[in-house]
């Protein structure tokens, strides 16, 4: 026997007006927290970009003084402004660290899981708003700790974002002392923040869906974010454990990764990549989900093969746990193990294929609207495909032999992470900007930014495949000391110029983003004619979202359906009740006994 749902404990009752601090700084409103994440992680994206520019300067113009290099302390640059080898390695390591852990991951999960999940499933807020707030402040703290490592003696880590032991475990070998500890501590704190966030998302999706929001009526973005949260909850603790052991090796003199005392160097790699590969799917699945929503909207068509899209997400997430060894083919790992990891890795192409082709199927015979989000979404599909396909080369173990740890890998990284995640983020930011700030971003600037980014991005990263095939290793300070690399130096110079241009055009976006906050044109309630629950609310949505828990009447992708045509539009939101619709059974609350 079930009784009718009473007002949720988190309903509007407690959402009385409050002061500035409670409202914007120590807010427990999932939307505000999402926006806080947005600003912080965009800042870290900028930091990562600035580091990248210095990397490119060094690779393009080795031992020529870097413009403005003189202002950096002499532990980083020579007196004449030439980057020092130590500093180069630190640049690369921190670039990777900031981009992966403090830019893209918070942008996708911190911002959009927070902002979208409750809005799209018709919940009033997260299941645990206070834990949610804590998760933001911990993430910020972690970022600041990571930043401070630039200002401590010997500077930040010098062992790549992967921190391979024993290099990272032995200060006497790496020459880094405080920086390494700060990295470990920051990662532990960040892990805590992610776990708090993720368990919030999982609980919210499972327990707080509005009446009628059945599992298979959830938008793919919510599905992706939900699966991502599961990955996060299970993967990050492993990294935390590993980071703690690394920290102890550094400060307590333990010997986990120190072969001299019987420790194992490969153990670190196993732990790191067991986290690391699920992590890279944490960095792509939410992007895939949001792109699915945007492409369906831009094509004015239901997503092609909704169910297989869901199962593809689940499949990718599951396979993601059994492929980590593909980062270790050359590490001396048991070759038989290498074979199994190769097969599982190659299989990931299958669910990915389903997604790519279903996106195309969605556009097929559509009625495409090329608004800025749609453009970036299409950019995502085309660029992620390139990145994914280059993954196939590396997955085939024999082919990985020559290209492992070369710039070919670097090309892959950026095709999936920039061409993939970041393009999806440009799309998502523009798409949900009105929901966040009540204003639209400038379309003209948006289009200019997209096309220029698309151009320079390919000019920057595509040639990396070639110099990688040519054999240029990763993380080397000066390619020109190798005779066999000298001939392709011009290509490095070319890449650097392209990279500078790429960085420059990002400021179109930055400007568009900041300018529109104040001067963007006011957003109509449903600017993209979309079906999502979030558009039933005013822009920006009030604290507590809905006055009364809304009802959901249909799936999220009912574009151009006969019913819609009957209404003279080409979309039919999930919250619209047609005369033919019956109200969903109110959320059943199991009575005593459960």
């Amino acid at each position: 026997m079930t009784t009718v749902a009473h007002a949720r404990p988190d309903a509007h009752a407690e959402h009385a007006p409050m002061g500035f601090w409670r409202k914007y700084i120590f807010s427990t409103d999932h939307k505000i927290i999402g926006i806080q994440f947005l600003f912080v992680s965009l800042f870290f994206l900028l930091v990562g970009g600035l580091l990248a520019m210095q990397i490119r300067w060094q690779l393009g113009f080795p031992n020529t003084p870097m413009p403005g290099g003189k202002i950096l302390p002499e532990t980083y640059v020579a007196s004449n402004g030439v980057i020092l080898p130590e500093y180069y390695v630190q640049l690369v390591s921190m670039h990777g660290t900031f981009m992966v852990f403090f830019a893209i991951m918070p942008l996708l999960v911190g911002v959009y899981a927070n902002f979208l999940i409750p809005l799209k499933i018709g919940a009033h807020d997260m299941a645990f708003p206070r834990i949610n707030m804590a998760s933001f402040w911990l993430a910020l703290l972690a970022g600041l700790i990571m930043m401070t490592s630039f200002f401590v003696p010997n500077g930040p880590i010098r062992s790549g974002w992967t921190n391979y032991a024993p290099l990272a475990a032995r200060p006497d070998l790496s020459g880094v002392t405080v920086g390494q500890m700060l990295w470990c501590i920051a990662i532990v704190v960040l892990g805590l923040s992610s776990v708090m966030g993720s368990l919030n998302y999982i609980t919210t999706v499972i327990n707080h869906r509005a009446p009628g929001m059945t599992w298979f009526r959830m938008p793919l973005s919510v599905w992706a974010l939900f699966i991502t949260a599961i990955l996060g909850v299970l993967a990050l603790p492993v990294l935390q454990g590993a980071a703690i052991m690394l920290l102890f090796d550094n400060v307590l003199g333990t010997h986990f990764f120190d072969p001299v005392a019987g420790g194992q160097a490969l153990l670190w790699q196993h732990l790191f990549w067991f986290f690391g590969h699920p992590e890279v799917y944490i960095l792509i699945l939410p992007a895939m989900g949001m792109v699915s929503d945007i492409i369906a909207n831009g094509s004015r068509k239901p997503i092609f093969g909704y169910h297989s899209m869901v199962f593809a997400i689940i499949g990718i997430a599951f396979l993601g746990w059994i492929v980590w060894g593909h980062h270790m083919f050359m590490s001396g790992m048991n070759p038989t193990l290498g074979s199994t990891f190769m097969v599982s890795t190659l299989l990931i192409a299958v669910p990915s294929a389903v997604k790519v082709f279903n996106w195309m199927g969605t556009m097929w015979r559509g009625n495409l609207r090329f608004h800025v989000p749609m453009l970036n979404a299409i950019g995502f599909v085309s660029m992620f495909t390139i990145g994914g396909l280059s993954g196939i080369f590396m997955a085939a173990t024999p082919v990985d032999i020559p290209i492992h740890d070369t710039q070919f890998i670097v090309a892959h990284i950026h095709y999936v992470l920039f061409g993939g995640s970041l393009f999806a983020l440009f799309a998502a930011i523009t798409y949900w900007y009105p929901k966040m700030f009540g204003r639209m971003m400038s379309t003209g600037l948006g289009k200019a930014h997209f096309w220029l980014t698309f151009l320079f991005y390919n000019l920057t990263f595509f040639p990396m495949h070639i110099i990688g095939m040519g054999g240029q290793m990763r993380r080397i300070y000066d390619p020109t000391i190798y005779d066999f690399l000298k001939p392709q130096q011009p290509l490095n110079v070319f890449i650097s110029y392209a990279a500078f241009a790429l960085f420059a055009v990002q400021f179109l976006f930055a400007f568009n983003f900041l300018w529109s906050l104040k001067f963007g044109k006011k957003a109509p309630q449903n600017p993209w004619d979309d079906n999502g629950m979030e558009w039933s609310l005013p822009n920006p949505a009030p604290h507590g979202n809905w006055e009364r828990t809304p009802n959901v009447y249909r799936g999220p992708y009912e574009f151009s359906s006969p019913e819609a045509e009957a209404r003279g539009t080409d979309f039919l939101p999930q919250y619209v009740k047609l005369p033919t619709d019956r109200d969903p059974a109110p959320v059943p609350v199991p009575a005593a006994g459960h």
Binding site: F128, I206, N207, P237, V238, G241, H255, F256, G263, H594
Partner: protein
Amino acid sequence: MTHATQTIDQMRPPFPAEPGAGVYSNKLGMWVFLASDVMFFTALIGSYIVLRFGAPGEWAKPGAVLNVPLTAFNTFLLICSSVSMVKAYAAIQDGKKYFLRPVPGKLLRDGGLKFWLLVTMICGAAFVSVQLVEYFKLVHHGFTPAGFRDGSLLAGEAAADPVKYGLAVAGLYGSSFFTMTGFHGFHVTCGVISMTYLYFTKVLPEKYSPQDYRGIEVIGLYWHFVDLVWIILFTIVYLI
């Protein structure tokens, strides 16, 4: 004190649960957290297993370095705290908010929530203190996370009988022992602190009732998990 006559399901909380998982959010959230904690201990315990498998030498014989009787007593403490925790849960289910209450015709008084939770906290605190004592003793005798401190008592004995003391792998032994037990101890400490907090903010003011005792159930889950982890640790670290 089993309620054979009672008809309603005693093992499912009587207050409204959210849809979906069919349990209220705090409980679901705690379970998800426990799942992630499993992965955290996997990293630590897994590394221990891997390192011990690949170790260049034999591990120290059980009891050679570590004080097993003391730890066995500690294990006993933790098991007791676990049962007292679950008794506290049962007590509030039956609405016994009190501390102790005499039962006519019975010699023992009947314990309520306040009593059992206090017992749990005390056992937990005792466990941590005993562990600290153990640590200090070990370090004093020369067993550190880095292995045997040279010139120390243990180092001497180990030099005399390298097999018994697993001299070859003392470093790994120290590393894994202190890390694993240390983080377990940390978990216990967190548990005790949060229970103390609940005790003063919710239990003493009698905020819990048979209709709503979520806090007790949730902290209970955490506590039993920590106990579970210790059961594993005790066996693989001290006895094997």
